[in-house]
C-alpha cells in the first residue's frame, strides 16, 4: 500500500506543469466554459437576496405598504430557485467532466507504464505505480476542479460582492473592509499551523497503519517467538504519538472555530456602530445596513476558501510532478519505425549471435553467447544458479534489451520486428506462475477472445490441468482469487502450462523451476505436460530438474555467462566435463545414492 509515500511539498503553482495539465482539459473546453458561465451566473444571483431585503425594509415596510411585500417575496423565492439550479447544474457538469478527465489521465499513465520494459518494473514496486495511478490522479483532478473553476469562482464571488458594496454605499463598504484584514490574517495563520499539523498527523497515522498491517499478517510469528509484549509497547508508543498530533490539531480547531464566530460578531458590531452612525446621520438607510451585514458575511466564505485552495494546489503540483516523471520516462524498448515482417508460416529457428547482456550493463550476466537452434528442436539449458539461464528466455522474448550482439528469429533480428509480432510467435512460460482474479477459463485464455471455450478445454486436457479443473466446483467457471491464492502452487503451474498450450506459439520458452513444494503425483503430471509442450516445436527449456532433460534433443551448458558445452546428454557425459560433474553432483544431492547405470 501507500503507507510510506513521502509527501514532497513544493510550489503551489508551476507554470510548466499547469500547462501540461491543461492539455488534459482541452478536449472538454466547452463543458468547462459552460461550467464557468454557470458559476458566474450563480455568483451574480447570490448578490440579489440581501438587496431585496434592503428594498423590502426601506420600501414597503417603511411605507407601511403590506401588499407591496408580495412582489419582493416572489422575486426573492425565484432568485433562490435560480441560485439552486445554477449551483446544482454547475457542480454536476464540473464533476462529470472531471470524472472523464480522470479516466483520460489514468489511461494515459496505464498505457505508458504497460509499455515499459521489464527493467522498469524491476525498479518500481507495484505499490508505487498504484499510487501514481490512483491517489496522484485524484490529486490532479482536485487541481482541475478546485484549482481552476472553484478558484476562479471564489475570486469572482469576492470581486462581485466588493463591487456591489462599493456601488451601493462606498461609506458602508469601507466600514466592512475594515474587518477583511482580520479574517484574512486569522485564516492564513490557521492554515499555516494546520498544514504542518496535518502532515505530522498523516505520517503518524501511516506509521500506525503500516505497523498494524504487518503485525496482523505476521501475528503467528510474534506469538510463536513470544514477542507480544514488545509489540504492545511499540504500538502503544506510536499510537500515543498519533494521539498527541490529534490533540494538537483539535486544539487548533478549538481556537479557530470560535474565532470565526468572533470575527462575524465583530463585523456586526463594527457595522452597527459606524454604520448605525451613518444611518443616524442619514447617509444610508437602515435597510442598506441590514443588507451590508449579510454581504459582509457572504464575503468571508470565499476568503477562507482561497486559503484552503492553496493546500490543494500544492499537493496537486507535487502529484503532477510525480506523474509526469513517470510519463517522461521513455520506454527502453520501442518498436522500429519500419518493422520487418516474419515470413509465414514462422519456422522457429533461433540464433544467438555473440550476445552480451547484464541487468546492470557493468555486470554482464551473458558474456558473448552464440548458438543456433534449428526449427523444431527442443533444447535444455543447464548451469548453476546465476549462470545466466533465466536471462536467455527474457532476451528471446525481448523483455530486456541486449547490450551487444544479435538475436535472430528465422534469420531476422528481433529488434527489427514489432514486439507484438515477436511475442505472438514466441511464448514464454514464466517461472513464477501468475494468476489473475477471474475464472479458470479467463486465466487460460486471458482476455484473448480468439481462443474458444473448446480450445481452452483442449489446452487444459493436453497440459494435464484438466485433472484438477474438473474437480473444482464450477470447473472452468471456478473463480480464481487474487494472486491465485485459492490454488496450490502445482495447480498454478499447470494452469500456466495450459495457457501456453492455448496460445500455441511456434517457439516455446519454458522456465522450469525446481518446485519441491509440489508432491510427486502433481510433478509427474507436470513432466508429461512439459513433454507435450516441447513436442514438435522449437523450444528452450531452462531445466532445474534433471528429469526434464530426458525429453530434449540437445543440451547447452552455461557457466558464468559463457556457453561451455553443447551436445546430447550422452555426448556430454562422455565428454566428462562440466556437465558430467554437475549431473553427478545434482544427482547425488537429489537422490543421495548411486547413479543407476
Amino acid at each position: 500500500m501507500t503507507f510510506y509515500d513521502d509527501e514532497i511539498l513544493g510550489k503551489a503553482y508551476d507554470g510548466r506543469l499547469v500547462r501540461r495539465l491543461m492539455g488534459f482539459v482541452v478536449p472538454y473546453k466547452w463543458s468547462l466554459t459552460a461550467a464557468i458561465v454557470l458559476m458566474i451566473g450563480s455568483a451574480s444571483v447570490e448578490l440579489i437576496p440581501p438587496y431585496l431585503i434592503r428594498t423590502a425594509i426601506d420600501g414597503p415596510i417603511a411605507n407601511r405598504d403590506v401588499a407591496g411585500i408580495w412582489p419582493i417575496f416572489f422575486l426573492y423565492a425565484g432568485t433562490l430557485v435560480f441560485s439552486f439550479l445554477f449551483r446544482y447544474v454547475q457542480t454536476y457538469m464540473m464533476q462529470s467532466m472531471s470524472q472523464r478527465i480522470i479516466i483520460d489521465i489514468r489511461m494515459t499513465i496505464f498505457r505508458h507504464i504497460q509499455s515499459m520494459s521489464l527493467s522498469f518494473f524491476d525498479h518500481n514496486p507495484v505499490g508505487r505505480l498504484l499510487t501514481r495511478i490512483t491517489n496522484d490522479v485524484d490529486a490532479l483532478n482536485d487541481f482541475i476542479t478546485q484549482g481552476t473553476v472553484a478558484l476562479l469562482g471564489d475570486l469572482v464571488r469576492l470581486l462581485f460582492i466588493v463591487v456591489t458594496m462599493l456601488v451601493l454605499s462606498w461609506r458602508l463598504a469601507l466600514v466592512s473592509f475594515c474587518i477583511f484584514p482580520v479574517v484574512i490574517l486569522s485564516t492564513i495563520i490557521f492554515q499555516r499551523i494546520m498544514r504542518t499539523t496535518y502532515r505530522v498527523m498523516r505520517q503518524r497515522l501511516a506509521r500506525i497503519n503500516a505497523y498494524l498491517n504487518e503485525q496482523i499478517t505476521g501475528v503467528l510469528v510474534t506469538q510463536l517467538f513470544r514477542r507480544e509484549e514488545s509489540s504492545r509497547t511499540f504500538f502503544s508508543t506510536i499510537s500515543k504519538e498519533y494521539l498527541q498530533s490529534q490533540f494538537r490539531s483539535n486544539n487548533t480547531f478549538a481556537v479557530f472555530f470560535p474565532t470565526i464566530y468572533v470575527t462575524s460578531v465583530l463585523a456586526s458590531a463594527v457595522l452597527l456602530t459606524l454604520g448605525g452612525n451613518l444611518v443616524l446621520g442619514d447617509y444610508v438607510t437602515i435597510g442598506l445596513l441590514v443588507a451590508f451585514i449579510q454581504y459582509t458575511d457572504q464575503a468571508f466564505q470565499p476568503i477562507r476558501q482561497l486559503a484552503d485552495r492553496y493546500n490543494t494546489l500544492q499537493s496537486a503540483m507535487a502529484s503532477s510532478e510525480r506523474v509526469f516523471r513517470v510519463l517522461d520516462t521513455p520506454a527502453e524498448i520501442v518498436d522500429p519505425v519500419a518493422p520487418l515482417e516474419l515470413a509465414t508460416p514462422v519456422r522457429g529457428e533461433i540464433t544467438f549471435d555473440n550476445v552480451v547482456f547484464g541487468y546492470n550493463p557493468e555486470e554482464p550476466v551473458l558474456k558473448g553467447v552464440s548458438f543456433t537452434i534449428p526449427a523444431g528442436q527442443a533444447v535444455a539449458v543447464v548451469g548453476a544458479t546465476g549462470a545466466g539461464k533465466t536471462s536467455l528466455v527474457s532476451l528471446m522474448a525481448r523483455f530486456y534489451e541486449i547490450q551487444q550482439g544479435a538475436i535472430l528469429l528465422d534469420g531476422i533480428d528481433i529488434r527489427s520486428l514489432r514486439q507484438h509480432d515477436l511475442r505472438s510467435h514466441v511464448g514464454a512460460v514464466p517461472q513464477d506462475p501468475t494468476c489473475f482474479s477471474g475464472t479458470i477459463r479467463d486465466n487460460i485464455r486471458l482476455h484473448n477472445t480468439l481462443i474458444s471455450d473448446a480450445q481452452v478445454q483442449a489446452a487444459a486436457e493436453i497440459s494435464g490441468a484438466a485433472t484438477f479443473i474438473d474437480k473444482l466446483p464450477g470447473t472452468y467457471d471456478y473463480e480464481v482469487r487474487e494472486r491465485g491464492s485459492n490454488l496450490s502452487v502445482g495447480q498454478r503451474q499447470l494452469l500456466a502450462f495450459a495457457r501456453a498450450m492455448a496460445f500455441n506459439p511456434e517457439v516455446m520458452l519454458i522456465l522450469d523451476e525446481a518446485t519441491s513444494s509440489v508432491d510427486t503425483e502433481t510433478e509427474q503430471i507436470m513432466q508429461v505436460a512439459v513433454q507435450r509442450l516441447l513436442k514438435g516445436r522449437t523450444s528452450l527449456v531452462i531445466a532445474h530438474r534433471l528429469s526434464t532433460i530426458r525429453y530434449v534433443d540437445r543440451i547447452l551448458v552455461l557457466h558464468r555467462g559463457k556457453l561451455v558445452e553443447d551436445g546430447t546428454h550422452d555426448e556430454l557425459l562422455a565428454l566428462n566435463g562440466y556437465y558430467a560433474r554437475l549431473y553427478r553432483l545434482q544427482y547425488a544431492e537429489q537422490f543421495g545414492g548411486q547413479i543407476p547405470e
Binding site: F84, V219, Y261, P430, N448, E482, R483
Partner: protein
C-alpha cells in the same frame, strides 16, 4: 445501543470531562443566542433614531463581551469533548491491538487482514466521531430549543412557521444522506476493482507481455474505469444536490419570514429589530438542524462499528493457558508424545477429520520426519505441537506434561518454528534474525547465519546485516527469506526445532549444505522435519508417513523399506520418476 455497550467502559472513565464539556457547551450556547437580542434593540433604536453614538459603542462592546465568553467556553467545550473523544479512540485502538495479539489462528482464519485493518482504522474513527462531534451536538439541541423559545417569545405566528418548516431540512439530510452512503459504498467497491486491476496487471506484466495481451488489458481497464465513472456520476447527482437543496429550503423559510414578518412590521405588529432577530436565529439554526440529521447518521455508523469492534474486543482466545492453574512453568527438554490425536473441521454433518488416530513418540534429541502427499495434514500436525491450534481429540504431551497444562509462554519458548510460508518483518536483517532473542550477541547471530547459509548473502546486501527488509528496503528472494527464517529459529536455541518444508525455495545444493549444518546443530535436540522428498529426511530416527490424515506407516527408513508398503512405493516412484535415462 446494545452494541455500543461493548465500548462503554472506554467512555465512562472520562465521564467528568464529558460533563464539564457539556456544561461549557451550554454556557456557550446561552451567550450565542443572546447576541441577536442586543442587535435587535440596536436596530430598533437606529430605525427610530432614538440612540446616540455612545450607546452604539456600548452595545457593540456588550456584543464583543458576549462573543468573548462564547469564544472561551466554545474553546473549552471543544477541547474537553472532542479531545476526550480522541483519547477514547486511542484507548480503543490500543485495546484492539492487544486483543489481536492474543487471538488464535482460528480467528485469523475467519477474518482477512483488510477486514481487521478496517476495524482498527475506520470503525474506531466512527466511534470517535460519535463520542466527539456526536456528543457535541447536544449543543445543537440546546441551540434549537433556546432559539425556538426566544422566537416564540418574540412572535408566535412567525415562530410557528419557521419551526414547522425546519424539520424538512433534517429529514432531507437523513434521506439524501442515507442514499448517498449506499451509492458511495458501490463507488468504493468499484474503486477497489480499479486498484486490483492495476495491481494484478503490473504484478503479472511478464505474463501480459509474453502473451501480447496489452491491448486487451487496456480495454479491460478502460471498462472497469467506465463503470467506476458511471457510479461516481450517480453519486455526484446526489451529493451535488445535498447542500444546494438544503440552502434552497433554508432560503425559502427566510423568504417566508421576510414576507410575513415584513407584513407584520408594515402593519405595526412587530418591529424591524424583531425581523432582523428572526433572520439571525434562522441563520444560527441552519447548522443545528442539519447536525441533528448528521447525529442520527453518526449514531448508526457508531452502532455498527461498535458491533464489529466488540466482536474482536470480547473474543476470548481459544488457545490460552489452562484456566485452572494458569499454566505450569516448565523448561522444555524435548520428549514428545502424540496420543490418539485427531483434528476435525466443520460441525454436524459437515464435520470432516483432517487428522485422526495420530500416535507416535519422539524421545529427547531424536529427529522425526513427516512425509506424505500435499493436503495430507502434515502442517496441521506440527501446528498442534506449538498450540497454533488444539486437537479435537487425544492428547499431546511434551516431557510428560499435556501441552495444554504447560504455560503457553514456556511451551513456545522451547520450540523453534520455521513455518512453510516465511514471514519477515520490515526491519533490518539483524532484527529479523534476532526476533526471538533480541539480546543475542553478534557471535550468536553470526553462527545462526552460518548454519542457515545466509552469511554470504548478507555480505552482498547494501548495508550488510543492517539492511532493511521489505517494501522500503531490499526484497529478498524466496530462498533468502526461508534461510532468514531458519536463522531466526536456530538463534533461539530451542529444545525442539520444527521445519515445515522450510527449504522449498532453496536450491538443492544449498539445501543439502543447510541440512548438513542443521544435522550438527540438531545434535541433542528434538527435531521435526516436514519434507516433500524422502531423500532429504531418510536419516531421521522416525519417519511418519501421513495419508489422508492418518498415519499409514511409521518407522525408520530401513524398516519402512523392509515393509515394502506405501513408503517403499513412494520412495521408488521418487527415485525412478526423477531418474534420468542414462542409456
Amino acid at each position: 445501543m446494545n452494541q455500543l455497550r461493548a465500548l462503554w467502559p472506554y467512555v465512562v472513565r472520562y465521564r467528568w470531562r464529558y460533563i464539564v464539556g457539556i456544561l461549557c457547551n451550554a454556557i456557550q450556547i446561552g451567550f450565542t443566542v443572546m447576541v441577536p437580542q442586543v442587535v435587535r434593540v440596536v436596530v430598533n433604536e437606529i430605525s427610530t433614531k432614538g440612540i446616540i453614538w455612545d450607546d452604539l459603542v456600548a452595545a457593540a462592546l456588550k456584543m464583543l463581551g458576549m462573543a468573548a465568553v462564547v469564544f472561551l467556553f466554545g474553546f473549552l467545550s471543544r477541547v474537553l469533548i472532542l479531545g476526550t473523544a480522541h483519547q477514547v479512540e486511542g484507548d480503543v485502538r490500543e485495546a484492539m491491538f492487544h486483543r489481536l495479539l492474543i487471538l488464535d489462528q482460528k480467528f485469523y482464519g475467519e477474518h482477512h487482514t483488510g477486514d481487521l485493518m478496517t476495524r482498527v482504522t475506520n470503525d474506531i474513527s466512527a466511534i470517535r466521531q460519535f463520542f466527539g462531534p456526536g456528543v457535541q451536538q447536544i449543543g445543537a439541541v440546546l441551540m434549537i430549543v433556546s432559539a425556538s423559545a426566544l422566537m416564540v417569545a418574540t412572535n408566535l405566528t412567525l415562530a410557528l412557521i419557521v419551526l414547522a418548516l425546519l424539520p424538512v431540512v433534517t429529514i432531507l439530510f437523513i434521506v439524501v444522506g442515507a442514499r448517498m452512503r449506499l451509492i458511495f459504498r458501490k463507488v468504493q467497491d468499484l474503486f477497489g476493482e480499479v486498484s486490483t486491476r492495476v495491481q494484478e496487471d503490473f504484478s503479472g506484466i511478464r505474463t501480459i507481455k509474453a502473451y501480447t495481451q496489452e491491448v486487451q488489458e487496456t480495454e479491460e481497464f478502460l471498462r472497469v474505469n467506465e463503470r467506476y465513472r458511471a457510479q461516481n456520476v450517480r453519486y455526484v447527482l446526489l451529493s451535488g444536490l445535498l447542500w444546494p437543496i438544503i440552502s434552497l429550503v433554508m432560503g425559502i423559510i427566510g423568504s417566508l419570514v421576510l414576507l410575513i414578518g415584513g407584513q407584520q412590521v408594515a402593519d405595526g405588529k412587530m418591529t424591524i429589530g424583531d425581523l432582523v432577530l428572526f433572520n439571525s436565529y434562522l441563520a444560527a439554526l441552519g447548522w443545528p438542524v442539519v447536525a441533528l440529521g448528521w447525529t442520527v447518521d453518526l449514531y448508526q455508523q457508531a452502532v455498527s462499528a461498535a458491533g464489529r469492534l466488540g466482536e474482536v474486543l470480547q473474543r476470548v482466545p481459544s488457545i490460552r493457558n489452562n484456566d485452572d492453574n494458569g499454566g505450569i512453568e516448565h523448561t522444555v527438554t524435548g520428549a514428545i508424545k502424540f496420543h490418539n490425536v485427531g483434528v476435525s473441521v466443520g460441525d454436524g454433518a459437515d464435520a470432516r477429520w483432517i487428522l485422526r488416530h495420530i500416535s507416535f513418540e519422539v524421545a529427547e534429541g531424536q529427529t522425526v520426519a513427516i512425509v506424505g502427499a500435499t493436503g495430507g495434514g502434515k502442517t496441521t500436525l506440527v501446528n498442534l505441537l506449538a498450540r497454533v491450534q488444539d486437537p479435537s481429540e487425544g492428547t499431546i504431551s511434551v516431557d510428560g506434561h499435556d501441552i495444554r497444562d504447560i504455560a503457553l509462554s514456556s511451551l513456545r519458548e522451547g520450540i523453534g518454528y520455521v513455518p512453510q510460508d516465511t514471514f519477515l518483518f520490515s526491519v533490518p536483517v539483524r532484527e529479523n534474525v534476532a526476533f526471538g532473542r533480541p539480546d543475542a550477541s553478534d557471535e550468536e547471530i553470526e553462527r545462526a547465519l552460518h548454519i542457515s547459509r545466509l552469511s554470504n548473502d548478507v555480505v552482498q546486501l547494501p548495508s550488510g546485516i543492517d539492511t532493511l527488509v521489505g517494501e522500503r528496503g531490499v526484497t529478498l528472494s524466496g530462498g533468502q527469506k526461508q534461510r532468514t527464517a531458519i536463522a531466526r529459529a536456530v538463534l533461539r536455541d530451542p529444545a525442539i526445532l520444527v521445519l515445515d518444508d522450510a527449504l522449498s525455495s532453496v536450491d538443492t545444493h544449498t539445501a543439502s549444505q543447510i541440512l548438513e549444518g542443521l544435522r550438527q546443530f540438531r545434535h541433542g535436540r528434538t527435531a521435526i522435519l516436514i519434507a516433500q522428498r524422502i531423500a532429504t529426511v531418510r536419516d531421521a530416527d522416525l519417519i511418519v508417513l501421513l495419508r489422508d490424515g492418518e498415519i499409514a506407516e511409521q518407522g525408520s527408513h530401513a524398516s519402512l523399506l523392509a515393509q515394502g508398503g506405501l513408503y517403499t512405493a513412494m520412495y521408488q516412484r521418487e527415485t525412478l520418476a526423477d531418474a534420468v535415462d542414462n542409456a
